[in-house]
């Protein structure tokens, strides 16, 4: 696949509904260790709600699909993840308006817009032990590898996200509920970095088919 068309975007979001359903307990267990044990349930609830909207989005442009996903996540996820993932898709939509397919470069622009929205909403930086520790290196890796095409770009992005997420383990959290733990937050993976990695991994799976 050289472009991400609207059918693939719908397939990606549908896959995310399944992925977060399967990873619900895993993400909740991670969150129980350093947060408030709701991340898995929140993500599963939100993306299950998105999945119910997908049939009606067949044939729509990608901007509309992303915007619908954003509004659904904002109103169903709650916690910090709702505004963060909602803002991600809302700003990604701004790059995808009226488009039925995104080139590899446009996928990069959508990721860039979405991740910038996460930065501005959450006011976190790299190394704060948040979803950005997966997303920022993933974006950089994608931009570097994208000359080779969409799938190679996403492969590098997912590798970087996985490495970034794994690297959150020793970090001391500086944002969110985990920050209350101070040094006790070290030694645990950040649930948001993990759920962000699943998001990109599912995009790679979809784009590779």
């Amino acid at each position: 696949m050289t472009e991400l068309d609207s059918k693939s975007v719908i397939a990606w979001l549908r896959l995310l509904g399944e992925v977060y359903g399967q990873k619900k307990d895993y993400l909740t267990d991670l969150d129980a260790a350093i947060g408030d044990a709701d991340h898995g349930a929140n993500m599963a609830r939100g993306f299950a709600a998105v999945a119910t909207k997908l049939d009606a989005l067949e044939g729509k442009d990608i901007g509309t699909i992303f915007k619908t996903a954003a509004m659904t996540l904002l109103s169903t996820v709650g916690g910090a993840s709702g505004p963060l993932y909602g803002s991600f898709f809302l700003q990604a939509a701004s790059v995808a308006n009226n488009k039925n397919a995104l080139t590899a470069a446009e996928v990069g622009a959508a990721l860039d817009a979405g991740i910038k929205a996460v930065v501005s909403r959450g006011k976190a930086q790299a190394g704060d032990k948040t979803m950005l520790d997966a997303l920022l290196p993933a974006l950089a890796a994608y931009q570097e590898a994208v000359v080779g095409g969409l799938v190679p770009g996403l492969q590098k992005a997912v590798e970087a996200a996985k490495a970034g997420s794994a690297a959150t383990k020793p970090l001391i959290a500086k944002k969110g509920r985990a920050s209350y733990l101070g040094e006790r937050s070290a030694g645990h993976l950040d649930p948001g970095a993990e759920s962000s990695t699943f998001l990109l991994d599912a995009l790679l799976t979809t784009a590779s088919q």
């Binding site: 129980a32 929140n42 609830r45 169903t76 910090a80 209350y180």
Partner: protein, 333 residues
């Protein structure tokens, strides 16, 4: 997990139906999005007070909807912030034309969701002020954390600001009073047991028999230290000292002392705590002129307590004493 529920998914909605069935004279429930509003609202020419947060802290916030306190409350899933669409619809429904004050507890999710709701309400031309409550001295207040958590002072701020709004103060005035209450209120809690979030099914944290979590948060967030259980008097002193040392009190200052149960601790024990807390306040030269004892901001079935102390001024006392008629707090009527 042993709980009196039908299903974790329907818990919040069924409880809202129950609130309305029990207190239909005071509150009206709205579904999809979920919120509670005053049955006699919106009250014309009165600042509307809107709060909300994850469920599991009952009676906060829904139990404080009614005359003299909140105009609307938005419950999220258990321990999860409500969403901007709930707050937006509740804000519109509660607005009596004099603006809406959003009372927000300082948790990352709550703050972000309320920010979005504030933007949505302002886009409709509604005046909005937001006050973030962050009174938990167990958390170090630094730029390196999400800041102090919002706990017991929230209840006091909702009552005092509700009284002020009822007395006809403007949105700016009520918001400034709320900021002052937050600035002068301090809390700290401890847990004897963990709690189980219904859709998780197992305890949020493990606490061995004979150990307590000192400085616990209302979602079971770990506190300052884990330690051996001590006597009620010793533990009360350990909660009171950080609270008293955090504000520059003068001898003779008047305070409100609030001893709160976290859900699984009997009132009998709370009064034992209150007795010692009042004694410690007195020993520091503080005059306890108002108080509240009971379970008002809880953490599901967690056993434990939190203590909140609020330095009072004339206005705060007046609005604390003002009539209130809500499912959970009623006096003067």
């Amino acid at each position: 997990m042993k709980k009196l529920i039908n299903s974790p998914e329907n818990l919040v909605v069924e409880a809202l139906h129950g609130m309305e069935a029990a207190h239909g004279d005071l509150v009206k429930a709205h579904f999809e999005p979920n919120y509670l509003v005053r049955a006699d609202g919106p009250v014309k020419n009165k600042v509307a007070l809107l709060s909300g947060g994850g469920s599991g802290h009952e009676p906060m916030h829904g139990g404080f909807v009614g005359k003299g306190m909140l105009d609307a409350a938005c419950p999220g899933a258990v321990f999860t912030s409500p969403t901007p669409d709930q707050m937006y619809e509740a804000g519109k429904a509660a607005n009596g034309g004099k603006g809406v004050l959003l009372l927000v507890k300082n948790y990352t999710g709550d703050v972000m969701n309320f920010e979005l709701a504030s933007d949505l309400l302002k886009a409709d031309g509604i005046d909005v002020e937001s006050v973030i409550i962050d009174d938990d001295v167990a958390v170090k207040d630094s730029t390196w954390t999400a800041g102090r958590r919002g706990v017991g002072t929230t209840v006091l701020a909702e009552k005092i600001c509700g009284g002020a709004a009822e007395a006809g103060l403007s949105l700016k005035e009520v918001a400034n009073l709320c900021r002052k209450v937050n600035a002068q209120g301090r809390s700290m809690g401890l847990a004897l047991t963990s709690c189980t979030v219904p859709h998780v099914g197992k305890p949020t944290f493990e606490l061995p028999e004979g150990e307590i979590e000192m400085g616990v948060g209302i979602h079971g967030e770990p506190g300052r230290t884990r330690m051996k259980l001590k006597s009620a008097d010793e533990l009360t002193a350990m909660l009171m000292e950080p609270i008293i040392s955090d504000i520059p009190y003068k001898s003779g200052d008047e305070v409100l002392l609030f001893v709160n149960g976290l859900g699984g601790t009997p009132l009998l024990e709370l009064y034992v705590i209150y007795r010692k807390a009042a004694e410690i306040a007195k020993a520091h030269g503080l005059k306890v002129v108002r108080n509240l004892v009971g379970s008002y901001i809880t953490s599901l079935e967690m056993a434990g307590t939190s203590i909140t102390m609020l330095k009072l001024d004339h206005d705060m006392k007046k609005y604390w004493d003002a009539p209130v008629k809500t499912p959970a707090l009623r006096w003067g009527l």
